[in-house]
């Protein structure tokens, strides 16, 4: 595997928590890898599993989904759906032959900029280990 491989991550972030945390991590100048392409969603519950697979197909090596902690959802129960969907998407990806570690779901609240930076660094290291996504079109 290419040592200089830099994974591309598509991050679906909830407007109320994770996006704010990402913003905060930037403003606080926390060290974080530049591999993330952030897409702001109104709720992590708006992330369809089809977005996840489309992202993997269309050039992402990993997909990150960030939402509010369970119980903190701005829309009461949006992140409940996210959790359950991702629980099904992961085995489905495995069955199709795609490593489920390429999809990561994390609850990061608006004040957890430090956690955001940590999670992203971890995720990038993980993806470097896994290599490019086999679905990715050249």
């Amino acid at each position: 595997m290419n040592d200089n491989f830099e994974p591309r991550i598509v991050g679906f972030m909830c407007n109320w928590c994770t996006y704010v945390a990402a913003d905060m991590a930037g403003v606080a100048r926390l060290k974080q890898p530049p591999n993330m392409t952030a897409i702001r969603m109104m709720c992590s519950g708006a992330v369809s599993p089809l977005y996840v697979i489309s992202a993997l197909k269309k050039g992402a090596d990993g997909v990150f989904i960030g939402g509010c902690h369970i119980g903190d959802c701005h829309y009461q129960r949006g992140n409940h759906s996210t959790l359950k969907r991702i629980m099904i998407v992961k085995p489905l990806l495995e069955a199709l032959g795609i490593d489920s570690r390429r999809v990561r779901l994390e609850w990061i609240s608006a004040s957890e900029g430090v956690k955001y930076a940590k999670v992203i660094s971890e995720f990038v290291d993980q993806l470097k280990e896994l290599g490019p996504c086999p679905l990715r079109e050249a």
Partner: protein, 276 residues
Amino acid sequence: MEAQVRLRCKELLSEKKVAAIWGLREKDECAVPFLFQNPEEIDALTLSPKFPLSFTCRPSPETILSILQKKMPGKRIGVVARGCDERALIELAKSERVDLDFVEVIGFPCDQAQAEECACSRPFPQNPIGGNKVAGIPEEKAFQKLLALELKDRLKFWEAQLSKCIKCYGCRNACPMCFCKECRMEQSAYTEIGWLPPEFPLFQFVRFYHMSDHCIECGECEKACPMDIPLRKITKYLRSRMEELFDYHPGLDVKRKSPILTTVDEDPVKELPHEL
């Protein structure tokens, strides 16, 4: 078995417990769906070959039973159902495609040969009117070999299998659970219109995902597939995962909502495992 079912149907019709019976009629050595309204007609009722009775009438999201129920409001309709037909009815009732209050299920178990042909894990309805229940074929059999493969071999396998797809939409059309008015598999965001083979794996991923909490294991998708794509390897795997993760069996209990639609408080889950 056939005699027993006929007897029961005649009883129900002549006692006016049901207005009509939706079943299969023998015609020119074939079985065709038919609405029996007179007890005399029942003699032509047949059980095999297997044919799904609760199908969706594409492109409308109606099912044949919901159309019948609209035409005969307030009247009960009897349905001669195998295990899979009954599960389909229950699952359709959850999505409000059928009103189960006006349906009388006349259930009968499948025989061993039929169960093996369908690789069915539950070849009997909940309350059969008679006959012997035969044991189902365990679901693991379908996907054991797939799971023994390494990830990259699995991907190769599916790339080869799914690139055979000719986009006939047979799997979707045959499926009693596919009732979306606008199908994602027809939308240009997920598939290139007029292009073959469909994008791997986006096209089938839609259906696999949608079936995860709906699949009632009738096997019609695989039977309909002209390219013999082993679709049920995945649907069966997802069914077993649903059982493991949420203890959920589609089509068994009309009161149990799909876990995807409920909150974590209503339907608790273990913390999301990152290493699945």
